[in-house]
């Protein structure tokens, strides 16, 4: 499988990368790990004439855990898994990263590529909604932060413009219990349905809950109503049922090779029920 021909660039700084993007407006694209982009290029679903490789751009890698947790866009899934600091501060990230693809893919695939890609099958976007993360984008006019919950517009369409580079994602230290529950056909597969849940408790009751779903709409779904249904409860069967029903109103899955709509809704209900139970058990 041969892609179309392209000019290749390996800039050393964000400024240099932005300059190349600006010079070839609409025809240039950045490549991070390439494990979503190259398959699309092989299928000729993406035709790019100028490919800007970010691997040597300084300042895009690394994990900083301080007031907030900040992760450089070029940090690979394998590097997320290797970070003890991240495992301690945001175990939800680890639980999810372990369920993404396989070792070889995790060695190349980056968190930035995973969230910027805009594929509803990617796991990190749902997670980012659950954690209320922000994405830092740098463009010709400077830098801006966009909330993950405002970033996704449609499959492969995000509020990032073609001349912007995602440099980092950041979020507050998550509190309480967590779970990422993913149903897939086999190890390494994209989700049939997945749920990210974070729950905090006070006085034995849920004080706040955040629920996000993966691959059940053309964008990741953060279900505010589902989280709200758990607040003030002890996550008993009625509360879980209410949370699941609220979530089912917010998703809109399509039929594909992972199954018909009714099956996806059933799987969504099951994974959310399990995720809530596990998150509650860890509060």
């Amino acid at each position: 499988m041969i892609t179309n021909a392209f000019e290749y660039y390996r800039p050393k700084s964000v400024a240099e990368a932005l300059k190349i993007l600006g010079e070839h407006e609409g025809e240039a694209r950045v490549v991070a790990g390439g494990h979503s982009l190259i398959p699309m290029m092989k299928l000729r679903m993406a035709q790019i004439s100028h490919l800007v490789d970010l691997q040597d751009v300084s300042g895009l890698k690394g994990i900083t855990v301080s007031d907030r947790i900040v992760i450089g866009a070029m940090t690979t899934q394998a590097e997320l898994l290797a970070s003890r600091e991240l495992a301690a501060a945001a175990p939800l990230m680890l639980e999810a990263a372990l369920q993404i693809a396989d070792p070889q893919v995790r060695n190349m695939g980056t968190i930035g590529g995973n969230v910027a890609n805009g594929d509803p099958g990617n796991d990190m976007p749902g997670l980012m909604q659950c954690l209320d993360a922000s994405f830092t984008l740098v463009g010709p006019d400077g830098s801006r932060d966009v909330k993950a919950r405002d970033f996704y517009q449609a499959a492969y369409f995000t509020s990032r413009t073609d001349d912007e580079i995602l440099v980092a994602i950041s979020f507050e230290h998550p509190k309480g219990g967590y779970a990422y529950e993913k149903q897939k056909r086999k190890i390494g597969d994209y989700a049939t349905a997945a749920a990210a849940v974070q729950i905090t408790a006070a006085g034995g009751m849920v004080s706040a809950a955040s629920v996000a779903m993966t691959n059940l709409s053309d964008v990741p779904v953060w279900s505010a109503a589902s989280g709200a249904a758990l607040v003030g409860t002890t996550c008993g069967p009625d509360a879980v049922k209410a949370a699941v029903e609220a979530m089912l109103k917010d998703i809109n899955p399509g039929e594909d090779n992972r199954g018909p709509v009714a099956f996806k809704r059933q799987v969504a209900a099951v994974v959310l029920g399990r995720a809530i139970a596990r998150a509650w058990s860890r509060v």
Partner: protein, 163 residues
């Protein structure tokens, strides 16, 4: 499209070649450099037959452009045996019937070689999880897992004996 000059260190040797940026690393290895050990099974990032070691990490060389690999240090299956013959893993695959048709074997061994450096004392579960990017249509995996676990204990006994 103009070719670019690509320099790699492969199996300890410096090599140079000209390739179009869009050529996949697996194509450059097999067709320009004559290293036909790494195989093309699916060419769609799923099977792991094309696995090579790139700067100390297992990767699928069908999903990396030659241009991205420029300057890298690579180990392929051809570089795993030592001057004294087969690597412990290679013998272990033979001993434990870790292959049938052998098509997946170069990728399996190249991945297992890195896995045992990342985790020299894996459990069976660690091996299965660590080898999840490599598919085999013949063996049912049981004997591949057995071969890797046996190689791990042999390598560890050799290390202890040396100390």
């Amino acid at each position: 499209m103009k070719k670019m000059h690509i320099e790699l260190t492969i199996n300890g040797k410096q090599v140079e070649t000209l390739a179009e940026p869009r050529e996949l690393l697996i194509h450059v290895l097999r067709e320009r450099l004559g290293l036909t050990g790494p195989h093309i099974g699916c060419e769609t990032s799923h099977c792991g037959a094309c696995t090579v070691d790139l700067n100390g990490k297992s990767v699928k060389s069908c999903t990396i452009f030659a241009a991205q690999a420029n300057g890298a240090t690579i180990t392929t299956i051809e570089g795993i045996a030592g001057p004294d013959g087969m690597h412990v893993l290679q013998n272990s695959f033979r001993e434990h019937h870790g292959l049938q048709c052998g098509f997946c074997t170069p990728g399996m061994i190249t991945r297992a070689w890195r896995l045992l450096q990342e985790n020299p004392t894996p459990t069976e579960e660690d091996v299965r999880f660590g080898m999840a990017g490599n598919l085999c249509r013949c063996t049912g995996y049981q004997n591949i897992v057995k071969a890797i676990l046996a190689a791990a204990s042999e390598l560890n006994s050799a290390k202890e004996a040396a100390q």
